[in-house]
Symmetry: C2
Subunit: 122 residues, 2 copies
């Protein structure tokens, strides 16, 4: 196993890698890039939804937190992950990661409206 | 602004919330749930790709890291996020979060094959 950090093996300038291997690597990376773009756009849409929830709750003095909703979300996501052969613990961590960003968004709404109430995870 | 933590406002047992507001909240939450399911399945597919990359690199003694590939990925994702009106810093943090999981996967491949070489982010 080489620990070299050069670019030679991964499509760089050097020609020492089997072209078939390089092509296969490029094919996989194209898929990864496509998926990343899809995820970014999905999350942009998700934040549009949570932003609407934030405004709705602020307008109707609804409580920010709904522990039962959040528990349901986590359980469902873990189940979905398991079915998709994804580590359920990772899916849960991911949801929590996104929730942290939603909270940041809601804090911005709160700064603007004096009320940023919304379920963090929604 | 209420700081109450009860369930009353978000579709719980109590009927004190305007049904139109409750319906709108349910509509938004359905969208959020749909998006979360899509993201989980996208990421399951992404991990299938990075796993293939891991095996490919291990089989051909390719170096695990490719800093130029990673820099390209980050720059591209930030650009995509900006266009989608998503915080580019969040997109970058998200990629790093996923990369950490990919590294965990590669460590498992390495444990099995004696060589887990693959770009972390791929």
């Amino acid at each position: 196993m080489t620990t070299s950090n050069t670019n030679e093996a991964t499509g760089g300038a050097s020609g020492r890698v089997d072209p078939a291997v390089r092509a296969e690597l490029a094919r996989l990376r194209d898929s990864i890039d496509n998926i990343d773009a899809a995820v970014v756009h999905m999350l942009a849409e998700r934040f549009k939804c949570t932003q609407q929830v934030g405004h709705l709750k602020a307008a109707h003095q609804l409580p920010p937190a709904d522990p039962s909703r959040e528990a349901h979300q986590i359980a469902r996501l873990r189940r979905l992950a398991e079915n998709a052969k994804l580590d359920p613990a990772f899916a849960e961590k991911l949801l929590n990661f996104i929730i942290a960003e939603v909270i940041r968004h809601h804090e911005r709404i709160a700064d603007g409206a004096g009320n940023g109430a919304a379920d963090a995870g929604e």
